[in-house]
Structure formats: structure tokens, C-alpha cells
Amino acid sequence: MADGKSASNPAASAAAAVDRRDTRNRWLLSAPALIILLFAAIGPLIIVVVYSFLKKGDYGGVEWQFSGDGWYSVILQKDIFTDAVTVADAHVSILLRSVKLSFFTTILALLFGFPTAYFIATRNEKSRELWLFLITIPFWTNLLIRTFAVMEVIRNEGIVNSLLLGLGVIDAPLQIMFTDFAVMMGLLYVYLPLMVLPLYASMERIDFRLVEAGYDLYATRWRVLRHVIFPLVKPGVIAGSILVFIPSLGAYVTPRVLGGGRNLMLGNLIEMQFGQGRNWPLGAALSITLMAIVMIALLLYVRNASKTEARHG
């Protein structure tokens, strides 16, 4: 065996040369995609990191001078007159609101998505495809249009208010637009399919003999759900929650349209620094903060997924 692997064996070194050429060809074939991504996706991200450590320019942009101000002002602020350092309430509250809204959106999506995925997974093969298709369609239609559709429904002059006013349930239109509730409804509406799809994928594989065994042992429906079905589909629950939480946290369009100027989320705060805020280093630092939270969530997910795989496989 040792002889066969040694470089002196001509057959082995020829095979190694073929392998090397194959690897080189595969890299060359991937190169155009990698170059485009390096130029217009990954490279610019590195520049964001650099910019977060620069001094802000007076009219937007940056001055090429090291400064920790960008990172510093993510959570702190200095009073212009007294130089007193305080916690930047505006930023912290937007950060917290983003996490809070994303969290509750995820919970709501789970509460609605779980039964829906279960419903689809327990249909027969033919109709399953149709229901799944119905979930997929909104997912691939324009996010802005879907947000606009929600806005039409909940506006002061919208369908809900017109209907309630017409029926005499309320005297004045309910102010739903421009509230945290509206943003949350919008996020739920827009990202619900992202919860249903992975949940369905794991429910499709449930072995219902296990469920039957549960009933054989006189479990109630709730206990079967809690102790048999839920543990089986836990990977799907985690995947769906991550898929809803991450885009909610980085949402820009939905809070901008439904939240108005006051109910900002992190995405809007970041964008503002490059618009009227004119504080590019702060915007860059906030972007990296957002990316870091997303990366941590993804890492937790990957670790969890590989652990589950190790246990079952």
C-alpha cells in the first residue's frame, strides 16, 4: 500500500497530474461567476468594513483618516454642547425594535405556518402539489407589490376600515398604518411562505406509524402533537424560524411603506445614514452589526442542523 501511494510510482503520479489538471479546469470554469461576485457582492462588503473605521465627510462620503466614531456612535452619542456621553437612545431603540418585531413576526409565522404546513403534508400526493404551489406563488411575486397590497387593506381609507365603518362597528377609522403592528403584519404576510416551505419539507417525511403508536398508547391529540410530531419536525421549525427572522431583521421596504417615518427598523436606519444622515461610517458600522447578527443566527442553525444529522444518520 505504501508503495502504491509513493510519488515514484509512475501510474500514481500520472493520476495526480490528471487530478491537478481537472481541479484547474474546474476553477477556470467557475472563474467568471466568482469574478462577478467578487466585483459586485463580496469585494464591496470588505470596503464596508474599511469605511466603518474612517472619519465621516461633512457632506456624505468619508475622509481617509482612521476614526472609531462610526462604531462608537452605534450605541453612544456625544452632546454637541456639553460633550456629555450618553447612550444613543434613537439607535438602541431602533435596534431593539428590529429584534422585537422580527422575533414576534417569527412566532406568529410559526403559529400560522405550522398548521398550514401540516395541512399540506397530510393531503394526498396530487393535491399536495397544488397547495404547495399556492404557497409558492406569493413567495415569488414582487415584495413591494405584496406590501402595497397589505397597505391597501389596512389604510385609513382601506378595505378593513371601510367595511367596519360601513357596518357601524367603529365611528372613526382605526389607525393601523404607521404602527409597529402594521409593520409586523406586513412582515408576517411577506415572509410566511418562508416558514411554511421548510416546515412542509420536514413534515412530508413524518412516519405516521409513530403517530399511530402514540394513539395506541392512549395519547391525546395534543400529546401526540407535542411529543411525537413536534420533535420529528424540529429541524424544519428551526429552519423556518431562521428563514423568517433573518430577512425580517434586515427588512427595508416593508417598514418604510407600512411604518412611515417613525417606526423605523435597522434597514431604514442604515439607509438613512447614506441619505439625509450623511454619516457613512456609522451606516457601515450598522451594516456590519446587522450582518454579524445574521451570521450568528446562521451559524447556530448550521451547528444545530449538523448535530441533528449526526444523531439520525
Partner: protein, 297 residues
């Protein structure tokens, strides 16, 4: 516990309780009656139906009011095509649509070509040095929030604009191409993974050149995947708001960014009309995609 012990007749009558998984076992039938459905969970169907209604009601309302004769998006004043006509006559909408379609076509074609090459390079092989790296690189746009990518491109392109003075459509074209690559890549890769190498080997045995093998064997087999990837990329590019909004120079509105701007003003059913046409295009594309990707029965 007592209930379980009582009902568990394993000891006395093992034959009836074991191995009768198909038709519902005796204990289940004894306790819950004959029509017992083990898959049912109470209330789940209701919630599922609420979900579907919730998903479709706003979209349907939006489409219905695009045919409203009045100027309100909430009060129905009879059927009319007037908002479609006014959208059709609106020069800004026209320009934005052409721009959207140009960008989406370019991004779909280029991203599909490079994604096909990358998919051929990264499938049907034993792991080679850098495979994981290439894979992570290609999927990167899926993992970074759009707003962060948008900001990164804004900063980078602003520097290039200052350096070169070029403010054309090129920035949007390359940005869209980049974030479309993983969407084009995934269906192509999935298709390739289900194709074995035996036909290509046979072609090579018959002295076909690598190019001829690709042209006459691999590509025809791969074609549904390529088409699906291309369409997905097209839809993704057409739908993008955030990155376009941040990257575009003045006067480079695409249809979604134009609409985003309009939402700040008083909304007329013209918006509904534009949205409805947009929705129709997306739904047609997704349907074709769905049919292409469906398991052959």
C-alpha cells in the same frame, strides 16, 4: 398511567396489536371509534384555510380595484380599463418598464451562463481543493441581507463614479447579475446532480470532442435546469427594490423603484393596474418554472 396499563393488551393478545399499522390498530379503534383519522389535528385545517385566505385576499383586492372606474382604491365605482390605459400612456412607467426588462434580461442571460459553467465545475466530481470555497462564494448573496449588499455597492460604485465619471446603466447590470447568480445556480446544480456521467462517457468513447459532448449530450439533458435557473434569475431581478434603489443614479428608476417613489404620494388605482400586470408576469413565470421542475411522473 392506569389507562395505558389497562389498554395495553400486549401480554394477553399480542397478535392483534402488532403489525396492524395500515388499517388503524385495535387499541386506536377501540378508544376513538372507526372513523378515527390519525393525521387529523383539531383546528389545523381552519388555520390553514385562514392562511390561504390571508395570503390571497390582499392580492385579489389589489387586482379587483385596478379595474375601478373611480379614483379611490377602496370605494368601488364600476368597471373600467381607464387605469390600465393611463398606465400605458404614462411615459415614466413606460421608461421604467423598459429599463426593468433590459436589466432583468441581461442579468438573467449572463448569470445563467456563468452559473451553468460553475455548476458543471462543482458537481459530479470528488471533492477537490477549493470546492467548498467556490460553493460558499456563489451562495454568499443569499446569506447577506439585501440592505447590506446595497450599501456595499453604493459605497463601491460611488468611488468608481468619482474616479471614472461613468454613471450609466452598467452598475445596475453588474449588481443584478451578481445577486442573480445563486438563484440561477441552484436549479442547474440540482438538475446536474440527477444526471450521471454514463452518456457523456459513451460520447467520449465514440470520439466526440469535449465541446461536441457538451453541445449534443450534456446541454440538451441540462436544458430544463438552465431554463428554470434563467427564469428564476429573471424574476428575482425584476422584483428587486432595495439594491436597485441604492445603486441607481438619477433617472434610472426601474418599475419597482418607481412604484416605491409613488407610494409616498396619493395612490390611485393606476398603481394597482401596474401591480396587476407585474403580478401576472410573475405568476406566468413561476408556473412555467414549477412545471419545468416538477418530478416526472
Amino acid at each position: 398511567m392506569a389507562e395505558v396499563a389497562q389498554g395495553n393488551n400486549l401480554g394477553t393478545n399480542p397478535g392483534t396489536n402488532l403489525g396492524t399499522n395500515q388499517g388503524g390498530s385495535v387499541a386506536v379503534r377501540k378508544k376513538w371509534g372507526r372513523g378515527f383519522d390519525i393525521k387529523k389535528q383539531s383546528g389545523f385545517t381552519t388555520i390553514a384555510m385562514i392562511c390561504f385566505v390571508m395570503l390571497y385576499a390582499p392580492i385579489l383586492t389589489l387586482v379587483v380595484y385596478s379595474f375601478n372606474a373611480g379614483t379611490s382604491v377602496a370605494i368601488w365605482a364600476g368597471f373600467s380599463w381607464r387605469w390600465y390605459e393611463s398606465a400605458w400612456a404614462n411615459q415614466q412607467v413606460y421608461d421604467a418598464s423598459i429599463r426593468s426588462l433590459t436589466i432583468a434580461t441581461f442579468a438573467a442571460v449572463v448569470s445563467t451562463i456563468v452559473a451553468t459553467m460553475a455548476a458543471l465545475a462543482t458537481t459530479r466530481t470528488k471533492p477537490f481543493p477549493g470546492l467548498t470555497f467556490i460553493y460558499a462564494f456563489i451562495n454568499q448573496p443569499l446569506m447577506v441581507p439585501e440592505i447590506v449588499t446595497g450599501i456595499a455597492l453604493l459605497i463601491f460604485f460611488a468611488a468608481i463614479k468619482v474616479a471614472t465619471g461613468y454613471t450609466g446603466l452598467g452598475y445596475l447590470l453588474i449588481a443584478h447579475t451578481a445577486f442573480c447568480i445563486p438563484f440561477a445556480y441552484l436549479p442547474i446544480r440540482a438538475r446536474l446532480e440527477n444526471m450521471d456521467l454514463s452518456l457523456e462517457r459513451a460520447a467520449a468513447d465514440l470520439y466526440a470532442t469535449p465541446f461536441k459532448t457538451f453541445r449534443y449530450v450534456t446541454l440538451p439533458l441540462l436544458w430544463p435546469g438552465v431554463l428554470a435557473g434563467g427564469m428564476l434569475a429573471f424574476v428575482i431581478s425584476l422584483d428587486d427594490v432595495v439594491i436597485t434603489e441604492l445603486v441607481k443614479s438619477g433617472g434610472q428608476d426601474t418599475l419597482p423603484t418607481y412604484m416605491l417613489g409613488q407610494l409616498r404620494r396619493i395612490v390611485t388605482p393606476e398603481m394597482n393596474a401596474i401591480s396587476s400586470v407585474f403580478l401576472a408576469i410573475s405568476i406566468v413565470m413561476v408556473t412555467i418554472f414549477f412545471l419545468l421542475n416538477r418530478k416526472k411522473t
